[in-house]
Every structure is written in C-alpha cells, then in structure tokens.
Symmetry: D2
Subunit: 259 residues, 4 copies
C-alpha cells in the first residue's frame, strides 16, 4: 500500500525556543519512504538527531514568531502481517536487548500496578491468546470518547475512567501487556482510514519473535499505518515537543491511498 501524507501545522511562539519534531516517516524495515519534504516558513535551520538504529527521524529547530510546518511524503508500507493473537511470548533470555526496556513501567504506563489484575483476569491464558483477550477486554470495557483525558492521563486513570482516545487505549494496552510479561511499546503513525484523518498512537507487541503493530482502538488496520516515532509511551512519541512556550494555531493531516 502506498500512502500520501500531507501535514500542515501552524504554531505561534512568543519567545525563541527549541522545538523537537517527530513528524517524518521512519526509515524502518516495515516501510519505504518514496519521497518526502519537510518545510518550515519562515525558513529556519533544522538540526537532525535521527536514530540510525530504529530509523526514527528527529528534527530540531529554533522557533520564534509564527511558524508554518509542512510535511509531505509518499510512503510504501510493506505488508506487516500483524497477528498479535497468534505469536508466542519470548523468554526474557531470548529477547533482543532493546526489547528489555519495553517490559518495564513508564510514565504513562505504570505496568507494575496492573500485575495483580492481569494475573487474576488473564492468568490462565498465554502469549497471543492472552494479548488478544486483553485487547478484547479493553474494547469491551473502555469507550472511545474525546474530552475525558489530557496530557497527564495515565493508563491507571483510563482503567478507572473507562473512556479515552487512541493515546489512552494504547497506554492501557501497553500496560496490560508489560504486566503480563509481553514487551510492548508505543508508536505514532499517520493512519489511513481514520475519520477525520489524524496522527494516531498505536501499540507494538513483541510476539512470535518479532514486533507486531496493532491499534488497540481497532479503528486503523496495521497496513494503513505509516510509522513515525517509537518509544515507551506518549512521552517518547509526541509529534511536537516545545522546550518553552508555543501556541497551537491550527493543524491538518491528510492521509490518502495512492496504490
């Protein structure tokens, strides 16, 4: 599948400050960036802190005044064959070293707090069956609803509130997986098929010896996702981090299929 992305962001910065953009399609094994351009108006210098291992693209710029950020790309997504309900969970000793930290609790995914719940409710299941059951539980017990969560909302809050958006579903799913001993991480992506088109927060679980992408809200198919950033939770994958103060003016994302 080839997806065309158009992102337009307008922000206002009253004071000069640095901005980290995680907005560009990752140079990862599961997709090929056919063409892309990142433009800032007025023009500013862009420093690159790209991660060569994961292919995550990181742009840092010094912002001041009104800034228009335009990102256009054409990306071919390679069939991901995500089947999180099928693979086996790996023994810790068989994990790739980088997977280890995705077993641990993080700011928005305090998985340690969910260990007794997971053992009690899903302890009889294993591997893919367990992950599938946990994802089903989330969809049965949590409503997709905007306005109930904010930037401080953790998986614990969502577990109690029983409502949230993609970020919250993903945090809860990651927390349950880690509590079950399954490495899980957060991925930001351009999602084809969402209405309205938007950046999306989804989960990646390590099952069957590989990372498998899955949308805990069930709204976007894995093969319609263009990966941007990968990390522990929302703290790692926000598409814009402002080191100072900035004001969102408006933004739009268009994701369309060209093949």
């Amino acid at each position: 599948m080839i997806l065309k992305i158009e992102a337009r962001l307008v922000y206002r910065f009253d004071q000069r400050c640095e901005v980290l953009l995680l907005l560009e399609a990752a140079r990862s094994a599961d997709q090929t960036v056919l063409s892309e351009s990142l433009r800032i108006e007025p023009q500013v210098e862009i420093a690159r802190l790209d991660d060569r291992v994961t292919g995550e693209r990181r742009a840092v710029l010094v912002a001041e005044g009104d800034l228009t950020i335009s990102y256009d790309a054409s990306v071919e997504v390679i069939a991901r064959n995500s089947r999180p309900g099928e693979g086996a969970v790996s023994a810790v000793r068989e994990l790739p070293g980088e997977a280890l930290r995705y077993l641990r609790p993080s700011r928005y995914c305090p998985s340690d707090r969910f260990e007794s719940f997971v053992a009690r409710e899903f302890g009889a299941l294993h591997s893919g069956d367990q992950v599938a059951a946990m994802l089903a539980w989330i969809n049965t017990h949590v409503d997709y609803r905007a306005g109930v969560s904010d930037v401080e909302t953790t998986a614990l809050d969502t577990f109690v509130d029983r409502a949230g958006v993609c970020r919250d579903f993903t945090h809860l799913a990651i927390s349950l997986c880690r509590a079950a001993g399954v490495p899980a991480r957060a991925v930001s992506a351009y999602a084809w098929g969402l209405e309205p088109p938007d950046m999306h927060a989804v989960m990646e679980v390590y099952l069957g010896g590989r990372w498998q992408l899955v949308d805990p809200t069930g709204r976007a198919p894995a093969d319609g996702l263009v990966r941007v950033a990968t990390g522990l939770d929302a703290a790692d994958i926000a598409f814009m981090t402002i080191f100072g103060r900035g004001e969102h003016v408006w933004q739009t994302f268009t994701i369309s299929r060209t093949a």
Copy 2:
C-alpha cells in the same frame, strides 16, 4: 582508584522463573574491569543480553530453588572529574541522540509535574549553577531516612514526604533536572565509602557536553563509584528483576579500596 567488589546474594525461588541480573560492573569508558567472576550455585546457564553501546552487562538465568549468586570484581575507576555545578546545559539540537530520552518523564521521575516548581524556584539560574542549587535544595529539604519509601514511591511522593533513601534522592534530583531541561539519568553503582557498603542509586547529568556522575545524597564521591546499570530510573537499574516470585534470604556487599 582500584576497587574490589564482593557481592553475595541468596534467594529462594519456589517456582521456576527467569531472573535478570544487573550486577556486573559496566564496560564503560569511565572504568576498567581488571578481573571479575559471576558464579551461581547450583550452577545454571547464564544468557547474556549485554548492551554493546553503553557497556551495560545483563545476565539472565532460569532460577529454581535456593540460589547463591556471587560476584567478585576488581575495577579501576578512571578519574571522572564530575563537577555538576560547573558545566553548561546543551541546546537540544546539540545533544547526542541518546540523551534526548533523558529529558522526558519516566515512571518514578514524572518531571513534567515539576516544571512550574523548577521555573518558580530555580528559573533565574542556569546550567551548572541551576543544577547545583537544585541539589542543594534537596539536601536542605529532604532527610535521608529508611523506611518511608517503597518500590512504588515516586519523586512526587518524596517531594511531599521530605524523606527517603538514595533511590528517592536520585529520583527527585533527576526529576528536577529534566524539568529544568537538563538531561538526567539513573545509575546503579557499587559505592565505596558508604556505611554499610551497599549498592547505590546515583544520578548522571549531561552538562558541559558530557555525562557527569553525582550522588544526590552527597554520601559517596563520584570516583568511588563502580558503574553497573544506567537508565531512566529505578525501573531500569534494579540489580535483580524476578519474572515471577522469589524470596530474598540474605545479601551482602563489600566494596574495598585496593589502590
């Protein structure tokens, strides 16, 4: 300085489970491991998940029954010249890519919650001066006292309780630094000069273009620390993570200076 380490840990595992040990001296640039041995009795196979980039040593074993873990090492610590009160804080665009994540909030260091406090109390200071002032604040306002914190205690709790142990001091110091825009991370270490000798949780801040090791409790000199693990917070550097259930029987750490 050459330090000799003897660690003896006895644990009981009623059921077979995996155990991750972050117990061995890191192969990092700031120290040289002259000799070492890790022995488990009864003998079990040890899988290695070492991190080649950071030099962190990770051993995974399958535990069952009573296990005695013995680690002996002789390590030369290279003069670290830690002067966290002197260096300049780097612009984000000048950070090494791996430092970026140490600006973000984590499980036990919710630095986002401290941004207004840090701006209000330390906003007039910068770089090393600011870090020094924050470390001084912690030592003035927090008491070193055992028994007030546990494995769920976050920097927020310590900020309110005004008491804790090395782990808590380190979490609070890291949180304040990150809230101030200074990358900070947790390091576990064998600490020479502590009474009783013990494993120690300390902080590393990125100032003056390099990581500088500092003990927020002020109890151990940087050059008497043998680095073991490095990470976001206690979740990453625990010397033993049991994937199942295990019971601590006893443990001792001896750290002595041989040169």
Copy 3:
C-alpha cells in the same frame, strides 16, 4: 441476638500524647448496650466527646508508657432487616440533612472518580438492584487478601489491585454507591462469626428511606455486628487515633454469642 465483647489492647507510648478511642458500642437505635466497662491500666483520666445525635462513643485519654486497654460489653442487637438489594434510592430533597455528606467523595472513597465506571456498568439498574449488582461485582472481581493494602490505600487502588481486606472492600463499595447517587458510609463494628474474631469495617447505605448495614466482604451477617463508629471512611472510624507516636504491642478481640 446478644453478643459479648472482650477487647484487650496493649500499646506503648514513649512520649506523652493524646489518644482517641472509638472502641465502645454505640448508643444507637439498632442495638442496646446491656452492660459495659472500659478500663485503662495504669489508670488515666478519660474525657468523653460522645456524639449525642448518633450515639457514637468517643473516649480521649492522655497516654504515656505502657497502657492496657480493656473493653467488655454485652450488647443486644435488634433485628436490622438489612436488605440492601430491595429498597428504593431517595431523591436528594427527601434525604435527611445528615445523609447529604455521605453522597460526597472522601479521603479513601473518591467517588467522583467512579462516576463514569458506574454509569457505564450499572447505569441501567436502579436503587436496590443497582446496589446489589455493585456488591456482586466487587465480590466477583476483588479477592479478600491481607498484605496488599495499607493505611494510604484508597478505593481507587483497590479497584486496580483487585484485592484487599474489609476496609478496602468497604471503601470500594461506598465509592460505587456514592457515584451512583446512593448515600453510603463506613461503620466499624465488632463482628460475630469472623474467623479470627476482629473489628470489622462495613458499609451502611441509605435505601428505602433508612440506613441499611451490609458487609461488602459478605463474611459477617448484619445482625451479628455491634456498631461502634460511623463516618465517611476509615479516617472517621479508626478504633484508635494516636496524636503523636505509639507502638502496638498486642491486641485481641473476642466476640461471642450469649443469646
């Protein structure tokens, strides 16, 4: 039913301090105190802050050194006809004024946090049916287990941990009821039939125009409870509050049926 209570508590106070005891059977409409005696050795003066409206008995003493507190009573419990699954919930305007505050969140029962959960899971039910369904939910989803909670544990923690003791069951049940608009409060009681005999924390809900006593753990029958204190949550009904420092040496409670 006539119940005989023998409570023996031994505490040590290194420094002189005041102690509030909520240890005596209440002079409430649902029970008659046939005889009782409260003795402290060595003898100290007891000030009384009894609540004449509710009949709650409150003794305040100045403690120092080793203190043995003995309370013996014979209490006739009047048949309570507790049927929390049957009554209708009152309109707010029909509530007795004193019931109003039992609709509000408190320290350990942050009922405001449970409103969306209750609306989602139990919103189709009303009054007694709703209360019965919530009590059944708690018994299905929470395990009675000591050691997972402490004095800071709130209903929110228990909702996540899915385990706790009588205090935790009661806090969660109260929280769900208040979130559903049903006044609910905490009651401490001597419970006949518990093994081992102990002081017990139970709930009282206002349904059918009267307060109905119910044990959310399902372990003690309402007619085997001798009421002591009544309040918002554990903060109000602790049998001993030490305004200073004291050390528990030992304590025993015996509750037997004499008729």
Copy 4:
C-alpha cells in the same frame, strides 16, 4: 459591616435533575441576615435541607431547561476578631465534638500526607505561631494563578504545582493545619473587596477555643466575608451540585458595602 449581595446564575439542564444550592447566607452566630430572597425562573419548588445546628442553608430543586437563579441579600457581619496567629491550639479532649472530624484527612485535603513536611518545617512552632508560619509559607511559595487547577486538584497537587486559586490555597492551608493537629475546615463566602467580586473559598481554624476565619490567599478581610457553607473541603461547600448534567451559561456576583 453590612454587605449587599446580588447573585445571578443561568444554567441549562437538558434533562430533568436535582440541584443542591449552597448559595444563601448562613444563619450563623457571626452574621445576621437582614433580608434576602431566592428566586428561580421559571418557578420551581424548593425543598429545604437546612442544617439547624450550623445554620447552613441548603436548597434543593428539580431543574429542567433554562433556569435563572437570583439571590439577593443584605447581611450584617459581626466583627469576627480573627487572629489566627494568636490563639492556642486545643487539646483533643477539650475540642467540641464537632471539631474532631476537621482534624482528619478529606478528599481534597489529604492531611496525612503532609505530616512529615509539617513536622520538619514547622515542628518547632506551636498554635497560632505555627498557623501563621504555615500561612506565610503558602503565600511565599504558591502563586495565585487561574487555569492550573480543576475540580480534581488536591492540596497535594497544589503543593507540587505551586500555583492555584482560592480553592487551592484553602485546601493546602487546611491540609497543613490538620497535619499540625489544628482543626481546620473550608468555608464558602461572598467576599467583599475581591476584584472581580466572587464567591470565595476560605479556611476556618480552631484556635484559642473558637473558630477563626482566615483567607489563605490574603485577598479578602475576614470581616468582609458573608458565610455560606462550611465543610471538610470543596466537596462540601460547592455552591451548586448538579445530580445529573447541567451547563453553565453565565453567572455574576455583586457584593457591595452599604454600611
């Protein structure tokens, strides 16, 4: 001082629901209501749940559609002689029974969490001196600023955020007082002299054998306050509690001095 109050509130209720209004001047010993009128348009029946002991006025109505609530009153405030920096703290055994619960933690004032902070920072002071020092600490370390807190904000959050509005100052002040063993409670009041005129949340401490009213923000003099509701914290004194859903359209408060 005689104060004239005009409150106008317009709310919209899409569905029929009950509303509790704590909007009328209390019939308390420290003020005399010279005249007043509470009108609802369109006219609805008002049930009264007034508290005869405290003089708190509570109106309950069934709301539906657009409702305009008008409250006009003329109230003479009797000189309160509030000097919270002077009185002595009472022994528990000398407290009036009703004061006891104001020593305990509540939903927004988890005073138990502040005991070690208070002992550490203010432990050398006592009674009025201690209360004065704690109030001074709050004014030095917390900024009056709107927009940083919401209905879930507790004193713990404010202690960390170091900013808030009257509700937050009051919650923090109450928490510190209770942690110090000084009974403290929340009072809602019409405040003369605030700019803009508004309902205000203030604190009452029990010192010198009587309740003393004080505004922890230092913005309103005690004698310019018309008392409305009194309780543990914001959960008890909200001027409007909607048992269902309602939408705030607009509201204005005018408080002027007529003598």
